[in-house]
């Protein structure tokens, strides 16, 4: 049982990874997931979070089998 964790753009570059799995038997808080996978890295203040491809607030709980994504502010479209 696990949570899939994805990282995008500059955050992926800084962490030098784009996807990993966290083995767990219980639901976890988003910050707990980050801290377990990135114990020596502080999450940037402007980090956005999505669970199963929908934006969520940082206090949300991540369930087993969820896909959790961390990414920087978005910059699409034309400037």
């Amino acid at each position: 049982m696990s949570i899939t964790v994805r990282y995008f753009a500059s955050l992926s570059e800084v962490l030098n990874k784009s996807e990993e799995k966290l083995e767990t038997t219980t639901a976890l808080d988003i910050k707990e997931v980050w801290n377990q996978l990135n114990p020596d890295k502080i999450m940037p203040n402007n980090t956005l979070v999505a669970i199963n491809m929908a934006y969520v607030e940082m206090g949300q709980t991540v369930q087993i089998d969820d896909e959790l994504a961390f990414f920087p502010p978005v910059t699409g479209g034309a400037l």
């Binding site: 994805r6 995008f8 753009a9 500059s10 570059e13 999505a50 491809m53 929908a54 934006y55 994504a69 990414f71 920087p72 502010p73 978005v74 910059t75 699409g76 479209g77 034309a78 400037l79």
Partner: protein, 148 residues
Amino acid sequence: MKIKIIEAELNPWQEMEHYQANMTTLSGKFGATNIFVGTMRDFNEGDVVTSMTLEHYSGMTEKQLAKIIEKTEQQYAILDVLLIHRVGLLLPNQPIVLIAVWAVHRGDAFDACRNIMEALKSSAPFWKKENLIEGSRWVTKNTQGYQT
């Protein structure tokens, strides 16, 4: 409504022609079509930009764009929307994004198109990395849409 994320070069005018030719059920029903095309510039923040790489969160991007359009459809009386966004490597002068909105009246077409574009910029999971003459950098902030 149609949403496409593409890596190939975008020709917005061909896409418009093709899409509208197949909008047979709306024939005679719309009085206004508003089109926005975003194009890659060769400069930003005082630097020459030689190319740009657009990353996105495949799957979430499409979901988020659909949400934006559905919300816009609740706010404005519009009949149809075509949204195409490039990802991957882009060169200056290449179109990045096409948003076309069909409505009975121009006010809804103009406002809905603007609304979709602004919502896209603030919430669709795309990220730009600019390649400069020396090095590259992630674009970290969006502009307000006007010359400053």
